[in-house]
């Protein structure tokens, strides 16, 4: 829904929506990496980060429906309750859409704590829904993913823009 906001935009930015899809796919791939132990604990939620990036920087085209869809994909990938990530990402995208103008005033580094809070909001929604489904309370290290995600934020624009600088390779993913 968000991708086809207006047909005019669609024509102008056809390539860019491909980049959005590419970055989301890569993020999903990173989330599915077989990690263990501390690496798994510290691994930021790349999908949440990229969803946040696009909802702040392209709010007209990457909105809540994208967040919701990615959430469903993550639910299956993470073997969690169907809809848990979807709800968390939707709420996060909503807050990001509300604040995107304010956020963009700040420099990337100053955005870090705010992004951390946004990621934390998604994790809190996950926590609440998890608790509702009678799961156990996770340890404090559950929230480390938000911290590492926020710390990764200043690097994200550069990473997301890598494919945009080069000639897009039609074979990539």
């Amino acid at each position: 829904m968000a991708f086809v906001n207006s047909s005019q935009q669609e024509v102008l930015s056809h390539v860019r929506s491909r980049f959005i899809v590419l970055s989301l796919t890569t993020a999903l791939l990173l989330n599915l990496l077989p990690l263990q132990g501390v690496a798994l604990l510290l691994r930021p939620d790349f999908v949440a980060l990229v969803v946040l990036y696009w909802s702040i920087n392209q709010p007209q085209r990457a909105g809540m429906s994208m967040a919701f869809t990615m959430g469903l994909l993550m639910d299956v990938g993470d073997a969690s309750i169907f809809g848990q990530h979807a709800l968390a990402y939707s709420v996060m995208a909503f807050v990001a859409l509300l604040l995107h103008r304010r956020l963009r005033i700040f420099s990337l580094r100053k955005q870090v704590p705010q992004v951390g809070l946004l990621l934390l909001s998604a994790q809190l929604v996950m926590l609440l829904t998890g608790l509702l489904a009678s799961a156990n309370l996770p340890g404090w290290d559950f929230f480390l993913a938000s911290v590492s995600g926020a710390l990764l934020w200043p690097l994200l624009p550069a990473l997301v823009k890598i494919p945009q600088r080069r000639k897009p390779d039609s074979d990539a993913l």
């Binding site: 829904m1 906001n5 207006s6 796919t25 999903l28 791939l29 990173l30 989330n31 599915l32 990496l33 077989p34 990690l35 263990q36 132990g37 798994l40 604990l41 691994r43 939620d45 709010p59 007209q60 909105g63 809540m64 429906s65 967040a67 919701f68 959430g71 469903l72 994909l73 639910d75 299956v76 990938g77 993470d78 073997a79 969690s80 309750i81 169907f82 809809g83 848990q84 979807a86 709800l87 939707s90 709420v91 909503f94 859409l97 509300l98 103008r101 829904t129 998890g130 489904a133 799961a135 156990n136 996770p138 340890g139 559950f142 993913a145």
Partner: protein, 300 residues
């Protein structure tokens, strides 16, 4: 909500959309947890992300291949070790075969049902989801390889868990440490039967509702009792690691360490499902006269 300029606004505002998506996901969650109705949607999405899951596993697979090229020196040691291991295992296997034959004869004499031999499928753990609310692992074999929900997963040391969801090429194992997972077990030393349940934490299991004076010691081995008809009997499950008996409570707090672990090795075995257990005897009220006959069949 005057956040989006009129210019760009198409369709409902952000709050309306949030409400819509929130309701939708709450509905999905309710359906998924309470009614288990959504296998088709999950299956479809699983097929969509399957290439990504495979691709994410590629680095590990390549690493395995490449490191296989460089370990030729270790290989000699490893072959020597494996030979030794093989000999030792062979010796045990001989004894096992003899015991199995003897067991079969004795069972024949007793007219007891035969123990089923189980076939196994080798599978590899693709990744472990980062989900603090459940303990699961994703395996690389699915319904295309004949895997069904309910099959038991073991590794070389003991029980790992149980297949709970199957996709075409993947399956999800709920580990025995999951909070909602229990295994019927038996103490090897005393023959005491109980249930061991997961705690939701890595590496800890709990024996619940055992009397404070139960015959149990540190280091006792728990194996599957096999009375559930799902887990074949005799598979190691856990070792008792801590016993706290407090006079204030009726039950002792017994903590165990699982024998197997998904963090140790990536290869696991999926056991084929056991033959269905004999039918439950009818309720005594309905079938009084048949009671004796049925009772004989039910006891193993």
């Amino acid at each position: 909500m005057e956040t989006a300029p009129q210019f760009f606004r198409h369709g409902p505002g952000p709050l309306a959309r949030l409400v819509f998506f929130a309701l939708l996901s709450l509905l999905l969650m309710a359906i998924d947890t309470r009614f288990k109705y959504l296998p088709e949607i999950r299956q479809t999405i699983a097929v969509v992300i399957y290439p990504l899951q495979r691709l994410a596993h590629l680095p590990t697979a390549i690493y395995d291949q490449v490191s296989g090229l460089f370990v030729s020196r270790n290989l000699i040691d490893e072959i020597a070790y494996l030979r030794q291991q093989h000999l030792a295992d062979q010796g045990q296997l001989q004894r096992l075969l003899a015991l199995e034959a003897e067991n079969m004869q004795l069972r024949n004499l007793l007219e007891a049902g035969q123990r089923a031999e189980s076939k196994t499928t080798m599978a590899e753990i693709l990744y472990i989801p980062h989900d603090p609310f459940s303990r699961k692992a994703i395996l690389d074999k699915g319904s295309q390889a004949g895997i069904q929900p309910g099959q038991v997963v073991v590794d070389d040391a003991g029980v790992v868990g149980q297949i709970t969801r199957v996709y075409p090429w993947l399956s999800e194992v709920t580990l025995i440490t999951d909070k909602d997972h229990s295994v019927p077990v038996q103490l090897v030393r005393s023959g005491l039967r109980s249930m061991v349940s997961g705690t939701g934490e890595d590496g800890t299991l709990e024996l619940r509702y055992l009397a404070a004076n139960a015959d149990i010691q540190d280091g006792d081995l728990l194996v599957t009792s096999g009375i559930d008809g799902i887990y074949p009997p005799g598979l190691p499950v856990a070792l008792v690691s801590k016993i706290e008996s407090n006079a204030a409570y009726a039950f002792a707090r017994i903590t165990c360490t699982p024998a197997a672990g998904v963090n140790r090795n990536r290869q696991v075995l999926i056991l084929s499902p056991l033959p269905p257990v004999p039918e439950r005897p009818m309720d005594p009220v309905e079938a009084k006269p048949e009671d004796k006959k049925r009772g004989k069949v039910g006891i193993r």
